[in-house]
Symmetry: C2
Subunit: 430 residues, 2 copies
């Protein structure tokens, strides 16, 4: 078992002008490899304070993992502090100098003394090359075996260096055997307690792999965690549990790990040759925006009519004026009319319509802030409706409504996976 503390270097991060996302990423990755993370620290670009902090860290833990402080203007003081903490000199590292020279030649830019100084590193350190930037990372070693591993602060430089250089070194150095490997199953449209009742026995009995649930904003994730010696071994343990979970969850399950809900919808629509359109009032284009976020959206997405003003609902979505007068813009009838109008105008197989009260003003006893009516058209069938009320402020309500709309789309198309459609011929471009 190895123990580590994480140190984020940079005045901008210390004072909160830049948000640190690295330390959480590193903490997760280390924990997954069975490394004990004792603490995180954030310190400004100040050599004295950094050196003192590193000395303290090495008193408590086997090593420090740092990010940041390797840019051309500040890396002198970072490396100076690290060298002091491990009691080594800074010496020229020839291969790093050549790599930096090579990079500057490629880009045709002149090299400064500052750039050259980036090749000075603590004596005897292990260099971690940086194919995504100029500053190499390194692992500085103290004679008693303690270490300080320094990586750049830019996440797209740090992440591959961590995965491909630092973690393998730690695994070997500390003979780490079991790491924790995870797979996350994403669900939408199922309440946490409903999901819990479906998987409660697994939650209670499984030990390796074990499962955990994490709810966030209308979606619930089920995380499967296996302790194993390799990704392959872990996958062999995880996959049967994942298959059982998917079966139990049913149509609320939409994908694993990095899959987004909109990407899952776009892929499934494209697979089935279906098209999608939206008719939005309170969500104001957010559903369309979420769909277009997925690369390849053009295979399935036709477009949207955002009808914020009532007369636009009438003119572009054919909502009857008498419906608006009799039931109001936020009503089941209006949601149905909007979905039908968008189906006619945009000629899509699947249409979702939203109309609601996002606040802060406009709520009444009968129609409180947070109330949203959804209308869902599938093929040329009847329009289905749903009434939901969301908590929170304007931003929360709109975000929840957008996720709920995507969830309704997803569950509707999943429900019909086995059923024959036969609708494409009857819908078309207006």
């Amino acid at each position: 078992m190895a123990s580590v503390e994480i140190v984020t270097i940079g005045t901008e991060i210390l004072l909160g002008h830049l948000v640190d996302t690295n330390s959480v990423h590193i903490a997760h990755a280390l924990a997954d490899h069975g490394v004990d993370v004792y603490a995180n620290h954030s310190v400004g670009d100040n050599a004295g304070r950094l050196a003192a902090m590193l000395e303290d860290v090495l008193e408590r833990a086997d090593g420090a993992v740092t990010t940041g402080g390797l840019g051309p203007t500040v890396d002198d003081l970072t490396k100076d502090a690290v060298a002091r903490a491990v009691r080594k000199q800074l010496v020229l590292h020839e291969p790093s100098l050549r790599a930096i020279e090579e990079r500057f030649k490629q880009f045709g830019r002149p090299m400064t003394d500052n750039n050259r100084r980036q090749a000075y590193l603590p004596e005897g350190c292990i260099v971690m090359d940086n194919p995504h930037g100029t500053a190499p990372g390194f692992i500085a070693l103290r004679d008693d075996g303690k270490f300080v591993a320094c990586m750049p602060g830019v996440p797209r430089e740090m992440k591959p260096m961590l995965a491909e250089r630092l973690l393998p070194w730690l695994v070997q150095r500390f003979a780490l055997r079991d790491a924790i490997y995870t797979k996350t199953l994403h669900t939408v449209g199922i309440g946490e307690s409903t999901l819990d009742s479906k998987v409660e026995d697994l939650f209670r009995t499984l030990e390796n792999p074990k499962i955990a649930m994490l709810a966030h904003g209308g979606r619930v994730d089920v995380k499967i965690m296996a302790k194993a010696r390799s990704r392959e071994e872990a996958d062999a343990m995880i996959e049967p549990v994942a298959a059982e979970l998917r079966k139990r969850i049913g149509s609320g399950y939409y994908g694993d790990d990095d899959t987004t809900l909109s990407a899952a919808i776009v892929r499934r629509l494209a697979e089935r040759g279906l098209t999608l359109a939206t008719a939005e009032s309170c969500t104001g284009g957010a559903i369309a925006d979420a769909i277009v976020e997925a690369p390849g959206a053009s295979a399935a997405f036709r477009g949207a009519i955002v009808a914020y003003a009532n007369d636009v609902k009438i003119a572009l979505l054919n909502v009857p004026e008498r419906t608006l007068e009799a039931t109001g813009a936020v009503s089941e009838e209006t949601a149905v009319a909007m979905a039908r109008g968008a189906r006619d105008r945009l000629g899509a197989d699947v249409v979702i319509a939203t109309t609601g009260i996002a606040g802060p003003l406009g709520g009444t006893q009968d129609k409180p802030v947070g109330l949203v009516w959804f209308g869902l058209a599938f093929g040329d069938g009847e329009i289905e409706t749903r009434r939901l009320t969301f908590p929170g402020d304007r931003a929360d309500i709109r975000e929840r409504a957008t996720i709920a709309a995507l969830g309704l789309i997803w569950r509707r198309i999943e429900r019909d996976v086995q059923a024959p459609l036969g609708v494409q011929a009857q819908t078309g471009v207006p």
Copy 2:
């Protein structure tokens, strides 16, 4: 001058399962009061490690400010660690016990021994009451004058305690006189270097207040920072500089501090009795969504047509088929036709149209990924166009394009602030 380090307590935060927003808030507040923040730390619920960390902090700084670790299940070990670090005993604090008893009586819940233990505090500490929760905060004092101030981790409990209890105590204790007060001016559509050239002399010569620039995603903020004894004194120093900056920046300036670009647009449109609509392809509804995000958007926003498929551009925006064939969907001609079509269909005074290539696929030599054409209609005048190319991935490009579109709208309506419009009569509902 006082120096402080911030310590966030809690395993959930250390491992990144909960996001820490407290330390940035505290760092800002302390810095604004002239307290030097040396470092931030995050540590799990572990009394030994916390005590060792606090001892180290008190070696370097005048005090530690902690959040978290005061909930009923973990506060024993937190207070234990703090007591060790300041070398005091935990003793019963009668007023805190009575306050806790009172609270439980109010809510009609039974009190447990755990709740009662919350009233044990380091001997001689200063109690900071917590009107928003059960756990009081406290400032524990070591005989040499160093201190550990402990606050709850729940932000809505911590923030008032910091503002109303801890900061006034620090001001008195360390005879802090000058705090730093800031005002931020937001701009859009002006490059960092252009803005720099407009304010460079102020940047160089001003000392109190001084100014700084911060660029993020297509917008540049100018921050004015004054060192003063009160907000009033600071405002008197800041306001003349702000007025000069607003004059120099011109129509790119859209608001101060918490003002968002979409809120500024909605307010200005409503003031002038103008309406807005959008016609979106690559932005996919994101501009409309941003506008609707602003409370009160219904006063100015009519709606949007998201025409992602080409035949929707033809059917709903009257883009001539021959335009699409001759110049392609991503072209100046299409952007113009989209803006004109949306003006006709949605009857708005101001219309923005976007068509571009967000990637990852679809780019060519002439029309690379990142290219976006904008069309802007104002009143019944000629459609203005703009061609911009954005770096980054699909999400970056779409976000930049959305901000650029909002910037074009803002600068266009600002440009016409003095000019008579006389257009409302000529546009209307289709």
